[in-house]
């Protein structure tokens, strides 16, 4: 095994119009997370446990709000989502492929 330095950040935002960040490693609930973002680095407290590579919200989102990653739409919020909450299939949904 090669020695690895600890990550410089805990999470990353890919695009300046994104409203989610991606965890670079497992994040404990209540942790102050250091986030690397195009518009400037920030710190957010996560209110869920976030597995590595999973997403969390950078801001509070209402039902039907667009969730954005890679600078693009990736789904609609299906419930109200708090800042720092885990974002996954329990609270977002993509467009119905039949409606494309």
């Amino acid at each position: 095994m090669t020695h690895q330095k600890p990550p410089a950040f805990d999470a990353i935002v890919l695009h300046d119009t994104d409203n989610v960040a991606t965890a670079l490693h497992y994040l404990e609930r209540g942790m102050d997370v250091k986030i690397k973002a195009p518009a400037g680095d920030l710190v957010i407290t996560v209110c869920d446990c976030i597995p590595a590579c999973h997403k969390f919200s950078l801001q509070a989102l209402g039902i039907g709000f667009h969730v954005r990653k890679h600078g693009m739409f990736i789904g609609f919020a299906t419930t109200a989502i708090d800042q720092g909450a885990h974002i996954h299939i329990h609270n977002i949904i993509g467009r119905d492929p039949q409606d494309r």
């Binding site: 990550p7 990353i12 590579c53 890679h70 993509g94 492929p97």
Partner: protein, 388 residues
């Protein structure tokens, strides 16, 4: 991003430039496939392509077979071809086509050997030995990167592929296209969910429609066979890895395409008419997908993986790229380019791009990939339907 740069390659009589100088032992029929492999055992540095099919292939399948087998022979990494087959009609047709590419080619037919595979083996070894010695007179000479044609692939992806590895491959493709080279992105079903974004970059509305049609046709193929593609995509593995929607998964996959104009949608294995960025409508499975791009003329492949994937092309050196820290640490004889430093924020993507570009030029000039060193690799003939 990067100005002009050049590599050292093998200049072929048809004007193309190879990054390797392989003797290809090509069996045009399944009957002679074991003989092709036997000859290859005596000349281990030769590349053997020997699909198990032959007689009774009809219609679009026959067209595809010729395109792929002749495409492998035409690939600029091939310096000469030993062609073997069972029947003179077929071998004659193939060898004539290969000679039109101005490629040295010797052909041998099982019929002419009294149907004796041992005689065919012996004659094959002797012919291959001469081809290989003549090939070795060739030396690498400087060539502009505009002579490069890159294939791309992702296999066993995770979010690190979409976030880092595919994005950097996209930057390399932008650069190669800007310098007058060629690149292709395939696996058409992987575009599903982001096809509108690709269609917006098409050179004409015709091409935009081809992109959408390619995706909807594959989706229809899957649904007709009872696959619940719409309800089960992303799949359980993707979801566990953190991908939530089809849009998110597709955005990661199409990162490989970079940002340049899409020249057209190629059929599986079909060579592009001009340089630039192309899509290929083809199967998503790595062995089939890479073979299609190599038959189209790609000399090198950029292959991103999350969890690890050992498959490489036989004829086009394949640079394996991963940004997953665990994969980079544990698969150090599989991953040619580690991007875990970028994923963890220790290295700027711009610096990683320069490193990746340099590695690509070195590989074009002869630096070995782990796939070559470990003798991975295969080229396969895709099938479309039943044989007679």
């Amino acid at each position: 991003m990067i100005r002009e740069s050049s590599f050292l390659g093998f200049h072929r009589p048809d004007g193309r430039v190879g990054i390797r100088n392989y003797l290809l032992i090509l069996s045009s029929t399944g009957l002679t496939a074991p003989t092709a492999r036997r000859i290859g055992m005596v000349l281990p540095s030769a590349r053997v392509v020997a699909p198990p099919y032959g007689s009774g292939i009809i219609g679009p399948d026959e067209v595809m077979r010729e395109r792929l087998l002749l495409g492998f022979a035409r690939n600029p990494n091939v310096g000469a071809v030993l062609l073997i087959g069972a029947k003179s009609t077929e071998v004659g047709k193939f060898s004539e086509a290969i000679r039109l590419y101005k490629k040295p080619c010797e052909s041998l037919i099982l019929d002419d050997c009294g149907n004796d595979a041992i005689t065919l083996t012996e004659r094959g070894i002797r012919a291959a030995a001469h081809l290989m010695r003549n090939m070795s007179y060739q030396r690498r000479k400087s060539a502009p990167v505009s002579e490069l044609f890159l294939a791309t692939q992702c296999g066993r992806s995770d979010p690190s592929s979409g976030i880092v590895a595919n994005t950097l491959i996209g930057s390399v493709l932008d650069n190669i296209v800007d310098l007058g080279g060629c690149a292709v992105v395939g696996e058409s079903l992987e575009w599903f969910g982001a096809e509108d974004l690709l269609a917006e970059r098409a050179i004409t509305t015709d091409v935009a429609n081809q992109i959408r049609r390619a995706v909807s046709r594959r989706v229809q193929l899957a649904t007709e066979c009872g696959m619940d593609l719409l309800g089960n995509n992303p799949g359980p593995t993707n979801i566990a890895a953190g991908l939530s929607t089809l849009e998110e998964k597709a955005l990661g996959a199409i990162g490989k395409t970079g940002s340049r104009t899409i020249q057209g949608v190629l059929d599986h294995g079909l060579a592009p008419e001009n340089a630039g960025l192309w899509l290929m409508d083809q199967p998503w499975y790595s062995p089939e997908a890479l073979s299609g791009m190599v038959a189209a003329g790609a000399q090198m492949s950029l292959f991103s993986t999350g969890a690890g994937n050992s498959f490489v092309s036989l004829l086009a050196p394949t640079i394996k790229i991963s940004a997953n820290p665990m994969t980079c640490a544990t698969l150090s004889e599989q991953i040619d380019i580690r991007l875990d430093d970028v994923f963890l924020g220790h290295k700027a993507p711009g610096v990683a791009f320069e490193d990746l570009w340099q590695h690509l030029i070195e590989t074009a000039s002869g630096l070995l990939t782990f796939g070559e060193i470990l003798n991975e690799g295969e080229e396969v003939q895709s099938r479309l339907g039943e044989s007679l």
